[in-house]
């Protein structure tokens, strides 16, 4: 059984936000605009957090891209009253959109705050509609959504592998964020496969995870030389 995971090398990340754009494009996430974004209505399945240290002219900036952590012990799935979210056998914390009734307890119980709610019905400018991804489920207003490691790409890769009568190889699947990253900071793969790149990187001495002390066992690892002050 595969166990999908991701490694993000913060030493390589330049904070260019291409991953956010790619994710938005791939997963049909509407843009919020300044007015709604200020009210917290913007959705970032992949978010980029910038931490500024010091004052001009001695400023240091850290960037940290934050997708869903796909915890092995997710706090969000147990609290859903209608089982609209669950951890699938391959370790992806998935959202069942048609089942969700918008209680938002999963949103408040996610310590990483990476679950997003559809406050309004999604809308796009007309010119943009032709670019929508047909492989992705259209979310209505009033439900919760989140990063799912580009599950549609995983399915497609599996189909191709089945057609070619082989197993999935390391590197077959690349989520949109990893594919677009100009510095190749994001690696995706099977954490159960000891030969995969993602497995090797996750064992690196540079590797750490966010809020590890909560015991949520995230499957997104970060690499960083030196200290990363969590806070």
């Amino acid at each position: 059984m595969n166990r999908w995971g991701m490694v993000i090398d913060l030493d390589r990340c330049t904070g260019c936000q291409a991953c956010i754009v790619a994710c938005r494009q791939e997963n049909n996430i509407p843009f919020a605009g300044e007015r709604w974004a200020k009210l917290g209505r913007a959705k970032f399945w992949m978010n980029l957090i910038a931490e500024v240290k010091g004052h001009y002219p001695n400023v240091k900036m850290h960037f940290i891209p934050v997708p869903c952590m796909h915890c092995d012990r997710p706090p969000c799935t147990t609290v859903c009253p209608v089982e609209a979210t669950y951890k699938n056998p391959e370790g992806i914390v998935a959202q069942v959109y048609p089942r969700c009734i918008g209680v938002r307890m999963c949103v408040s119980n996610c310590p990483y705050t990476v679950r997003y709610f559809n406050w309004h019905a999604p809308s796009w400018p007309n010119e943009y509609k032709r670019g929508l991804n047909p492989d992705v489920y259209k979310r209505r207003k009033g439900i919760t959504e989140k990063c799912n490691f580009c599950i549609q790409r995983i399915r497609k890769a599996k189909e191709i592998a089945r057609k070619e009568k082989r197993k999935i190889r390391d590197g077959d699947i690349t989520p949109a964020c990893a594919e677009t990253c100009p510095t190749e900071a994001i690696t995706f793969g099977d954490l159960n496969d000891p030969h995969s790149r993602v497995f090797r990187l996750s064992k690196s001495r540079r590797a750490f995870r966010l809020l590890e002390e909560l015991g949520t066992e995230p499957k997104v690892y970060y690499l960083k030389e030196g200290e990363w002050k969590d806070g």
Binding site: R41, V79, N109, W119
Partner: protein, 423 residues
């Protein structure tokens, strides 16, 4: 006793049921408008989405949840206080019983309605029992609240049956209502035996159910990872706060009834003095719990918890926090410790009810505004939709009580009579 004699004796209690002067209409009319307005607000929100409220990321549970916890808290007063006082044969509680039980039922109707407003897809609320996942505290909540609602409706009703029997004989014009409800009550020995057994059973049953409700409501927050929600004393803290706000509500309601319906003869300063003592005890209990909870966080809390704590003590929410301390402790304590006459009790109780609403607000909002991974920082201001729903809810609650008082006596006549005879 003959119903004629009884009715003459308790004329003062029955009179308000038929009299509807201009004060009645002046109260009911604006309340009805507010109530209907909230339907429009809900329709608006339903049509355009929850984005019409002031919520956003990460402030995903706000005013609706505050009102949910607040109203369910109020509902505790009733059944719990009246059941405990009955079991312990505290006679002074008799005139509060009926009002308390009615408050319970209406507050319990108002509280969970907020969850309906809060759902992203309100029309699918029935999926909660249909697709129940028993790991979720919300399902426990649903189960407990439904049980409590059912039991407290039965409690209110059973305790009214002898009075309904009297009403059936007194108001022939309303026979359509009282006759089926009286269940053929005539006051025979057998009937009395059955009803006192039923009441005894209900009194015992309602106490653990009531405690379970607010316990589980507290777990909806206490079992989450949010800083300062994740606390072991949340269950007793919530239950104490619930009874605290509930007693205050009963006092406000009975003082209002006493004045408006001229029931000074039955609700005497002696009764209020005892109720005031109970409120005083809970003022101290509340202060104790609040101090314990905040001290623990301040002394040994992690950085995430401290962020929330300081935002309450000195930060963005400091003003609200210290107003809460003033309203929930300083004002009621300094008033009640000296005198517990209705004149002192009314301001103390109003202050407690407002303070407890603020307490619920301050438990929910600052934690969500300071999530553990503290890059998204939230700020929250309710929109017109949320204010409208809250106004409509309060109006609906008051309206329900006023209408109730026009169909049923607000004091339990048969219990007053029983006491009079025993004396």
């Amino acid at each position: 006793m003959d119903s004629e004699v009884l009715a003459t004796k308790y004329d003062q209690v029955l009179k308000p049921m038929t009299r509807m002067g201009w004060p009645f209409w002046v109260t009911v009319f604006p309340l009805s408008i507010l109530f209907l307005w909230s339907f429009f607000a809900f329709g608006w929100q339903y049509q355009w989405g929850l984005g019409e409220t002031g919520m956003g990321h990460p402030m995903s549970w706000t005013l609706y949840l505050v009102n949910f916890v607040f109203f369910i808290g109020i509902s505790h007063a009733g059944a719990l206080v009246s059941a405990v006082l009955r079991i312990t044969h505290a006679r002074w509680g008799t005139p509060f019983g009926r009002a308390a039980e009615a408050v319970t039922v209406f507050a319990l109707a108002a509280g969970p309605t907020n969850i309906l407003f809060d759902l992203g897809r309100s029309s699918r609320f029935y999926w909660v029992p249909l697709h129940a996942q028993f790991k979720s505290p919300l399902i426990w909540d649903f189960t407990c609240i439904m049980t409590y609602f059912t039991v407290s409706v039965i409690f209110l009703y059973v305790l009214m049956i002898p009075d309904i029997g009297l009403l059936r004989d007194r108001f022939p014009g309303r026979k359509w209502l009282y006759k089926p409800l009286s269940l053929g009550w005539t006051g025979t020995k057998d009937q009395w035996r059955t009803i006192s057994k039923t009441i005894g059973f209900l009194c015992v049953a309602v106490i653990p159910i009531a405690v379970s409700v607010h316990t589980v409501v507290s777990w909806v927050f206490g079992l989450q990872t949010q800083p300062m929600w994740f606390s072991t004393i949340f269950a007793p803290y919530f239950v104490t706060g619930a009874i605290f706000s509930g007693i205050a509500t009963i006092i406000i309601v009975t003082i209002a009834l006493r004045r408006i319906y001229h029931l000074e003869k039955y609700l005497t300063p002696y009764h209020f003095n005892n109720m005031g003592l109970l409120l005083l005890v809970f003022t101290l209990l509340w202060a104790y719990f609040t101090f314990a909870e905040h001290l623990t966080v301040a002394y040994a809390g992690g950085s995430h918890e401290l962020d929330v704590l300081w935002s309450k003590l000195t930060g963005r929410y400091a003003l609200l926090f210290w107003i809460m301390v003033l309203l929930c402790f300083v004002i009621p304590f300094s008033l009640l410790v000296f005198k517990r006459s209705p004149k002192f009790l009314l301001p103390a109780s109003i202050s407690v009810v407002i303070g407890m609403w603020l307490e619920r607000f301050l438990i929910i909002i600052p934690s969500l505004a300071h999530p553990r991974l503290h890059y998204p920082r939230g700020a929250y201001m309710p929109s017109w939709v949320e204010w409208s729903m809250m106004a409509g809810l309060c109006a609906g609650f008051t309206l329900a009580f006023i209408l109730f008082s026009k169909f049923f006596p607000v004091l339990s006549i048969w219990e007053l009579e029983k006491e009079a005879q025993e004396n």
